[in-house]
Amino acid sequence: MHSAVAHHFESLEKQGQAQRLGMWLFLATEVLLFTALFAAYGVYRYLYTGAFSQASRGLETWMGGVNTFVLVTSSFTVAMGLDAIVKGKNKRTGLLFGLSILLGCTFMVLKGFEYRHHFLHAELPGPFYGGPIAGSGGSMFFALYFLITGLHAFHVLIGMTVLGVIGARTWLGKYDAEHHVPVELAGLYWHLVDLIWIFVFPLLYLI
């Protein structure tokens, strides 16, 4: 039996199945964590429709768009990394995960410039809002903007850490074609971060 099988599992396959299901359940909790924010977004967008679209138009759409391309591409490289380890090419997986982390960094840097832009224009949540939109809509939009993108950026950071650790371990040969579930799980997490951004991008930037 493979050395990675814990004593209470009958086989590596069964263990992998359990770990995938566990990961999916964890991802479900992540989805619901964001849901509270999306629900708040839905309600306030309904209440302050005009203010929200005005504020949305003031965002740096090109940065959000480029970030979407970056994140989707990083998801692709992670998926290719999994494909590599399945074929037993550890080094290639390590490299592809490294590339994904680089793309993640690009995302964070762009995000940083975007935040800087908002700070300079006093487009900030709640009492700190000094933008042009009258009423509560503007400050509410930016409260939600910072909460959603902030929580997402936090997840990107965690995802980069996870990719880093798992990528390094793959490079060092801890996983192989038969035992690669941790690589797969790290990938799942990163894809979820991408998945959430796919919804954040139109909600905040486009509509």
Partner: protein, 553 residues
Amino acid sequence: MSQHLESSPPVYAERNYLNTPATGLKSWLTTLDHKRIGVMFLIATLFFFAVGGLFAMLIRIELLTPGPTIMDAMTYNRLFTLHGVVMIFLFMIPAIPSGFGNFLLPIMVGAKDVAFPRLNLLSFYIYLLGAVIALGGMIYGGADTGWTFYTPYSTTTTTKVVPILLGAFILGFSSILTGLNFIVTVHTLRAPGITWNKLPLFVWSIYGTSVIQILATPVLGMTLLLVAIEHAFGWGIFDPGRGGDPVLFQHFFWFYSHPAVYIMVLPAMAVISEVVCAFSHKNIFGYKAVAYSSLGIAFVGFFTWGHHLFTSGQSAFNAGIFGVLSMFVGIFTAIKIFNWVATMYRGSISFKTPFLYFIGFLFFLFFGGMTGIALATVSLDIHWQDTYFVVAHFHFIMVGSTIMAFLAALHYWWPKITGRMYNERWGLVGATLVVSGFVFTFLPQFLLGNEGMPRRYFNYPERFQALNVASTAGASVLGIGFLIILIYILVSLKYGPVAGPNPWGSRGYEWLTPSPPPLENFDVLPAFERGPHEYHELPGSESAAPGAGTSHA
């Protein structure tokens, strides 16, 4: 072959989880064994139950007279907040799932351990961390918001609400990890022979509970975080002065906290389904109906949260939706009640302590449930909302039934956990006191609510005093009952007679292994040929009915 194995586990397992691999404190604190983690959860939750109970007694004493009796209004407001927080987050939510669930669920599915033992231990330490932070907040000053943390009161109060929020937030992770572990365990670690239709009903209910824990807890976490952000920076998500909607907070809060009621009640139902079969010595009436109704509660329970908001400014349209949906959740409970009662039909009922708690449970679940339905009929709720009627209702349904089931579980599985029997006669005394004490504490509160006394009142008009005194008198009976239980159960640890593998003659899978169970639950894995609730004679076997104390098959 398996029949043979089932019939001959040793009377007291010399090498069991209590002494293998070691007995030292360190071996307990670093253990990955689900049974030890379960026992540690039980000890911790019992400690917090005592703390919360002490708060409850202080509150009842304070309410003996209008105006200050033994404390001032500020202390009182903090006390009922802490009572709620401790009892809900530190006792009721983890007690049965994390305590008994951890101990029993893997045995009941024939597994050696839960799917992720490390996560399981992590869950326990997260629980301790959350408890310490919350307790720290209480000692450091405590919050006065009520456990519901309604905005904008919770975002403007000057009391120490942030550590308590943070504590509850952290406790949520413990809850999530436990639920995640159980679901994966049930899906992937069932022993050969245990199909979905042969799962013990305990497992079905705990499974339903886990689904709620996973899907609802993150929303509470985010909500509490938003309140904390609001309290610290005033971003205004729930602040009406900045265009926020305080009712939205209530939506989010009850999206978790209504299903959380089922996090408390479903495990109680899990226990009772086992107890009623074991002590009626009969198969469960309608296995599938009872099993699927657990999932039904877990699912429909998510669609009813708005019945907490009938007076809050929510729209009449939404009140209608939530009102109708609330009626459907009652149905699943009704199915269970009917099936439990029908299980006794043509049974062989033995009136042991756990069965007495079953009777108490049935009473509290029925009347707690029916008053719940009454509260969901919208117009009646308008009168009762935020009065003592609601207090009595939820103490019946989630505290009464949960504590009955918790005590039933404690007595029913005590021989399995410790290998020793408690004193049955004292057990009956304790059960009688607890059940009657509980009734006398909360029956007057239903009437107080009818009369119109709002909850969370430090002071009250004198016409409410008689019923308040009656309630406090009941509470003291309840307190004495708990003390008696505590004493005889501790005594039995040392002086109780050795119980044997199956003192109740139960068919549950956990009784197929010695008491206390060995390290990996079964020395030799049984074939699990009979269902866990099948008591009838099999054609061809000479003596199919096991008597108490033996386990011939």
